[in-house]
């Protein structure tokens, strides 16, 4: 009991010197600025369509990854831990990126193959529902398949 208590207290007070309120608030401002920028771009795009959506999506993804990096590194303090610990989190996360890419590629392939070979699906996808004049009128509970 005593042994665990002392190692725990050791671990608790070990990196006390690297905790700084200034870094925390700086991270907060960075997160806030990135989020506000993303929202501004999204709203501006909605009003004016000034960039191709794919390009805009790329910006959003980069912004999100930047925010994730700051939250993990500063708020969760991972940046100040031993390098090996950082690696046990970082390497699986990198492999995760492959997971993401592979499945989005798969989804896209599925769409292309289905559009190529399934005429019924293509026709269904082209059926434009009558444009609603009054907002609360032509709402249908959706179920396409």
């Amino acid at each position: 009991m005593d042994h665990t208590h002392s190692t725990a207290t050791e671990a608790a007070h070990d990196d006390g010197h690297s905790f700084s309120t200034k870094a925390i608030w700086r991270t907060f401002w960075i997160l806030l600025i990135i989020t506000v920028a993303e929202l501004a771009l999204a709203i501006w795009y909605y009003e004016t369509d000034f960039l191709p959506k794919h390009f805009l999506n790329g910006i959003f993804v980069i912004g999100t990854l930047a925010k994730a990096f700051f939250i993990i590194a500063e708020f969760m303090h991972l940046r100040y831990e031993l390098k090996n610990l950082i690696m046990t989190i970082g390497i699986p996360a990198t492999l995760f990126l492959w997971f993401l890419g592979a499945f989005l590629w798969d989804g896209n392939s599925f769409k292309n193959l289905r559009n190529k070979y399934d005429r019924n699906h293509v026709e269904q996808s082209k059926k434009v529902v009558k444009e609603k004049e009054e907002k609360h009128e032509a709402r249908k509970p959706g179920a396409m398949e």
Partner: protein, 225 residues
């Protein structure tokens, strides 16, 4: 800025933590990794289905409401911006609680934990309002009243994924708030003062930051992309 290991220091010979962190903290990190994969799997399946669809509803049209405002807001995504801000703020107060713990400042820990709990409850309230509002518009699991961006009929995939993933995240926020309340009570009772360290607060903090982190990704996938 990672900690460097002193030359000649044997990390893996036993008797000490090879990563120089407490066991519970390391295990919390690994639990968060597993939870990250679960959320990741949900979000990636959402992305896959969306990529395989010819069209999808426009989030700028769907998410335009605000509590207390009749009809639509002049700009979209106003309410979700507020929710994001609340959650990030609560993450900041959580870090400040951990910092107070390092100084063994019991009153400081209690103050910042209280604000973190408040933030969590505010977020949950906002999410509940959003769900109620969407349900009022006819959206639910198996019911999608929204049109695709190109005017075609939309599938229930949109609402199914939305409610499932935000619900799963909301459940994590809820359990995080419960954990934080328990931490507050333990701090108030002097449990950590007696132990001599506030490591439990740090572990609860890791969980709370994870919840915030997931929200950043959920927010991007559903509202921005």
């Amino acid at each position: 800025m990672a900690q460097a290991v002193a030359a000649g220091q044997k990390l893996w010979s036993g008797g000490k933590s090879p990563f120089n962190v407490e066991y519970g903290k390391l295990m919390m990190w690994y639990f968060l990794m597993s939870d990250a994969f679960t959320f990741g799997a949900f979000l990636i399946s959402y992305g896959t289905i969306r990529f395989s669809s010819n069209s999808w509803p426009n989030p700028n049209e769907v998410f335009r409401s605000f509590p207390g405002v009749k009809g639509e807001m002049p700009i979209p995504l106003a309410f979700v911006s507020l929710m994001t801000f609340i959650l990030i703020m609560s993450s900041v107060t959580m870090v400040l609680a951990v910092g107070a713990g390092h100084q063994n400042d019991r009153k400081g820990v209690m103050k910042w934990m209280f604000f973190t709990i408040l933030g969590g409850l505010a977020f949950l309230g906002c999410q509940a309002w959003e769900w109620t509002h969407l349900h009022g518009e006819g959206a639910w699991w198996g019911r999608n009243p929204f049109m695709n961006i190109d005017g075609t009929q939309s599938t229930t995939n949109f609402t199914n994924f939305f409610f499932t993933i935000t619900g799963f995240h909301g459940f994590h926020v809820f359990s995080g708030v419960i954990i934080n309340i328990i931490m507050l009570i333990m701090t108030w009772k002097g449990v950590f003062e007696q132990k001599g360290h506030y490591l439990m607060i740090e572990k609860a903090g890791l969980y709370w930051h994870f919840v915030d982190l997931v929200w950043v990704f959920v927010f991007t996938c559903f509202y921005l992309l």
